[in-house]
């Protein structure tokens, strides 16, 4: 354990619990977590990234099992709320790519106040001022294409190019009723280009998938040529695997997507949840997410590997959870009316 982190954790523990000596408190958290023996983590991150993080945690704390419950952000939201309404206490901590969830859960009093070690260093726009949640990972909602199918001079530059007749039957897209990233992206694009953009896009015979982790895999397999929206991090993973795909940062702008983490107030394994939250924000895990998971990190000191376009060189559309929140239902409804697969 890095000394810096130990000090921060200790300081935090002392703040929570009072007078105990720092190291003892750290040990106390670990001991209590080990006694609980497991932690249930609901997340929307790509399943292989999630399982790798779990493995890493398990290696460090062999006595604590991590149960990964992965689905799309909106599905995670549905499961969490359905279980909560039915009085089932199973989820310990949660991570989705739809920041409005955290506003809702906080309002409903479902979250525990907990600032994991290191989060106090995170820029203020990426954490809740009252300490209920913070951005664990970030990605961009990008476009992409298969280099075997699309010749270099034909590559679309942005959203509007996709309306050209030549892309008919060649597009794939994720669903905002399933994916928080797609929802965030849809909100941004609708604001920028209006809903008639999506109406025109639907006439292109888009392959309608669910997850923004699925669309990069679809173009990698060659099932479709161009991806309308997908996770930048899955594109990096595909590129690292030598799949024939490239990222497009649309000229109109690329939506930025924060994915916070929060601990539930009714977590059945409160100590393990807090220990795991600490672990998630540790520099080691954050660097792993960036290096192997292709994600962006908001934790200071984490460095992008060479070869990736730095954020500052991309025209990014910042996410706006507070602005999006009142429109979420409306976006999903409008989208389903055009592309199906919704209420």
């Amino acid at each position: 354990m890095k000394p810096m982190r130990r000090i921060m954790l200790a300081a935090l523990a002392a703040a929570v619990a009072g007078a105990l000596p720092a190291a003892a408190q750290d040990k106390a958290l670990v001991a209590a977590a080990e006694k609980e023996g497991s932690v249930a983590w609901y997340t929307s991150v790509d399943v292989k990234v999630a399982e790798a993080v779990k493995e890493d945690f398990h290696r460090k704390y062999p006595k604590i099992d991590v149960e990964v419950e992965r689905s799309g952000s909106e599905r995670v939201y549905q499961r969490v709320n359905q279980e909560h309404q039915s009085g089932i206490k199973h989820a310990d901590l949660v991570n989705t790519s739809d920041s409005t969830h955290f506003i809702e859960w906080k309002k409903e009093g479902m979250l525990a106040k907990y600032v994991p070690a290191g989060v106090d260093k995170v820029p203020a726009e990426y954490r809740d001022p009252e300490g209920y949640y913070a951005t664990w990972r970030a990605t961009l909602c990008v476009m992409g294409y298969n280099t075997n199918i699309v010749p270099p001079d034909q590559v679309p530059r942005g959203y509007k190019d996709l309306l050209e007749p030549k892309w008919k039957g060649k597009l794939t897209k994720a669903h905002p009723s399933y994916s928080g990233t797609s929802l965030t992206g849809t909100y941004a694009v609708a604001k920028l280009l209006g809903w008639d953009y999506f109406e025109k896009l639907a006439k292109q015979g888009v392959q309608q998938l669910q997850s923004t982790t699925a669309t990069p895999k679809s173009i990698a397999s060659g099932e479709r040529a161009v991806m309308v929206d997908g996770n930048e991090y899955n594109m990096f993973i595909e590129i690292d695997k030598k799949s024939p795909v490239k990222i497009i940062y649309p000229v109109e702008g690329t939506p930025f997507v924060s994915s916070p983490v929060a601990v539930f107030k009714d977590a059945p394994h409160p100590n393990a949840a807090r220990l795991f939250a600490d672990f998630l924000f540790s520099t080691k895990v954050q660097q792993f997410l960036v290096d192997k998971g292709g994600l962006r990190s908001v934790v200071p000191g984490v460095k992008d590997p060479a070869g990736r376009t730095p954020l500052k060189d991309i025209k990014v559309i910042p996410d706006d959870p507070a602005g999006m929140l009142p429109q979420v239902e409306d976006i999903k409804k409008k989208y389903a009316a055009i592309f199906g697969g919704g209420k």
């Binding site: 249930a40 689905s71 279980e83 392959q207 309608q208 997850s211 895999k217 099932e223 592309f339 199906g340």
Partner: protein
Amino acid sequence: MALVLAALVLLPIYWLGFTSFTDDARHFTLAHYRRLAVDRSFLEPFWVTLWTSAAVGFLCVAFAAPMAWLVARTDLPGKRLLRMLVLASFATPPFLGAFAWVLLGGPNAGLLNHGYYALFGLKPFEATPLVDIFSAWGIVFVTALYTFPYVFTFVATSLDLIPSELEEASAILGAPAWRTALDVTLPLVTPALMAGFLVAFLQSMTLFGPAAILALPASIDTMTTKIWSLFQFPPKLGLAAAASLPLLVITAVLLRVQASIMGRRGYSVVGGKSTGQRLIRLGPWKVVALAPFALVLACSVLLPYGVLTWTAFVKNYSAPMAGNFSFDNWRFVFLEFSQTKLALVNTFALGASAATAGTILATTIGYLSLRRLVWGHRALAFLATAPVAIPGIVLAVGLFLSYTHPPLVLYGTLTIIFLAYLTKEMPVGYQQVASALKSVHPELEDASRIFGATRLRALFDITAPLIRNGVIATWLFIFIGSIRELSATILLFTANTKTVSVTMFDLRESNDWGPIAVLSITMLLITFAMIAAINFFNDRRLA
């Protein structure tokens, strides 16, 4: 017994009905139905559901009936193998077949289309694909592939039970084989055909997997995917309940129609065991006769199993073989993936318990109602077959509504999923037991009673041994039906009551084909091991 059945079936239906007519404040309203009747986003899925289900029914009858006749009445070679492959199609969950067909029939990356493009020097995206599985016809095709065994089994069983004397008489009188088949055999098996068509239609109408996997990517909704969408948070329970009731009504009507057709025909040509059957010689027609088997079984078993095996052992299913081979998917599923063990344990615990409880219930009810031993036996039979009318997902809603509040809170437990499986499989179990019981004419029991045996004695000494195979088959049917269940589980599972099917569906939504293929193969291997074990056991007991 009747009470258990009534509680199982009626409680969810009561809650469905109640919820469909009330608003959030529990006041009476017709708003849900009004919306269904005017909203195009409901009318279109309804229409798609109806025509695809009818198409599945026709396709199944058109292929399965001649196939069953060939197996039962001719000297077709390799019957044992063919029957085994039909059984394999039956044992293959339709959603799993849909997964495989995405890999085979995806218009641009699908391996069949790849082969087709390569063969004719065409290019993906430019040429029309051989198969576009992401379409309404894709649902019809895949659903029919895994539903035809119902029709096949119904017709084959019925043919096995009808003595061939009638057909022989026709042959002796000089009718050619085809004439005998059409004029004598066909009318005799019409009830089985009708029953088969109905089961195929209803299966198709209530399946969630193929529709969600194949139609949603093409922006097509069916009633099941629509109802499922209504559970996106915050759920629209009233609308979901209202959307499901028309399906219930359609099925009730169809079952009535079927009952009246069967009732009018009302013949019982089966009494005791008939003598050996004379088989029609196919001669040089053998090759032609094998063609439909080759086509159907290649599409339902050989190609899908092949593509799943391939996908399980490579990094990218659509990439060439060189440097593609890998055990990564297996390592991931069995060493890294948190869900695997939990899902397997849950799935098999649910399958075994639903099969055991279901067999006991179906056998008892089947006997009571078919021998008309109790008052209200018709109602019993109706209750036992009624769940076929409830789409799994709607049954799930009904169960959800019934058991999320006191006195009995079951949501979040395996019990609620067990109840779903038990209810859902009851019609299949009942049909199995009923067809076994129908093959034992009451006169056999009557004979025993004339000789002074009590009814119970007659039951144990005469009927039980004759239907034993049927009962074992029932257990098998329910078990296989349960371990592949997706439509109801998709709404009832929680994180720690996940099954293999739901886990695979989650993986599908993120296009993780490798792990899906590994889980598919695992599930199939375990299913076939079960079937083999039970067959072995069964043979031993008969010997």
